[in-house]
């Protein structure tokens, strides 16, 4: 199963992620 998030955000939004990394519920996805 998969969750896809699609959202509008200011252009300075950046993800703090790397593809393939493990993540847990509650951990941040990105910053502005």
């Amino acid at each position: 199963s998969t969750i896809v998030l699609l959202f509008e955000a200011p252009q300075d939004f950046t993800f703090n992620l790397t593809a393939g990394q493990k993540i847990r519920f509650g951990e941040p996805l990105g910053t502005m």
Binding site: L5, L6, F7
Partner: protein
């Protein structure tokens, strides 16, 4: 000419040949990657996708679900769940109930909850991960195309369906925006559209939570195939998430449009949204290729459903 055609050895020989060739291609790709050369994903052709789609994955998924609703005798629970834990690397230390005999069947075990303090919700960032899993891909949406993994895209419009939920969103738009689906979703000047895909492996906690503070105004349910969504298949089948059964929740957060989509898979075919008692997924009465809309806006409730960051939102179920 007089020799009899033996279908089984022929099938085994062609199957083994195909698998061998496939492994060889993968081996070549791995070697190229080791040398730092980027290898484009090998996509399934239309025939391969159609063959995959002919497998009755929905039927299999429902049968799997029924099987996992059968209560297990107490003496059998520990060995069965232990095998599952060992196979998929489940961490039972963080489960709200660690006693395996408490779970009547595998379906119930799959829906296990976590201890209250097992997942602290980040308070300083506005968007958090809604679930445990692996980040498949993330980034900006460009030219109405979203990437499911690097280099494999799908159409934003096919994924979300036609833009007809606008009555439920109080948004001002320009006439010229109506030519571009992506622009329709971006409500504020200077904003962009972003996406993030989280893959939940079989051993992961399978409930999901609200990723931010937002208001959900609309639900769109797409009955569809239930192909596997593991990263290997996501690299192989283009538009995989558009083929599969999914539930799109859309609404608004403080920066404009926000949506969360739960995509089903073969063994995890049904999706439950806690506040939506009407929703029925992986149900034979719905045919593939259609979609069903439901608005959470009513005369009594003009705002839709308000969710707080980290709040329980829904769960995936076996079958």
């Amino acid at each position: 000419l007089q020799a009899r055609v033996r279908p089984l050895p022929l099938l085994i020989a062609t199957g083994s040949g195909y698998l061998g060739y496939n492994q060889y291609e993968r081996y070549k790709d791995r070697n190229l990657e080791k040398l730092g050369i980027e290898v484009p994903p090998r996509l399934a052709n239309e025939l391969q996708v159609n063959i995959y789609k002919t497998i009755p994955t929905r039927l299999l998924s429902r049968a799997w679900g029924r099987l996992n609703q059968v209560d297990l005798p107490v003496w059998l629970r520990k060995p069965i769940y232990s095998l599952y834990i060992w196979t998929f690397g489940v961490n039972m230390k963080e489960a709200a109930v660690e006693d395996l005999q408490h779970y009547k069947n595998l379906g119930e075990f799959f829906r296990r909850k976590l201890k209250p303090q097992a997942r602290p919700v980040c308070g300083s960032h506005c968007v958090i991960s809604p679930a445990d899993g692996k980040i498949l891909h993330f980034g900006r949406v460009k030219n109405c195309e979203v990437e499911q993994v690097k280099g494999v895209t799908y159409s934003l419009e096919t994924f979300l369906g036609p833009y007809t939920w606008t009555e439920s969103l109080d948004i001002n738009r320009h006439e010229d925006d109506h030519n571009n689906f992506q622009n329709l979703l971006v409500t504020k000047k200077g904003n962009d559209l972003f996406h993030c895909v989280v893959y939940l492996a079989p051993g992961d906690y399978h409930c999901f939570h609200s990723p931010t503070d937002w208001r959900v105004s609309h639900r769109r349910h797409f009955p569809g195939s239930l192909m596997s969504v593991n990263p290997g298949i996501a690299r192989w089948i283009k538009e995989l998430f558009c083929h599969n059964e999914r539930v799109v929740l859309s609404g608004e957060w403080r920066h404009g449009f926000f949506s969360l989509t739960a995509v089903g898979a073969t063994n995890v075919g049904s999706i439950r949204i806690y506040f939506d008692k009407e929703l029925r997924t992986n149900n034979p009465r719905y045919s593939k290729g259609s979609y069903n809309d439901f608005s959470y806006i009513s005369n009594n409730n003009q705002e839709g459903v308000s969710l707080r960051k980290g709040e329980h939102l829904g769960e995936f179920n076996l079958g």
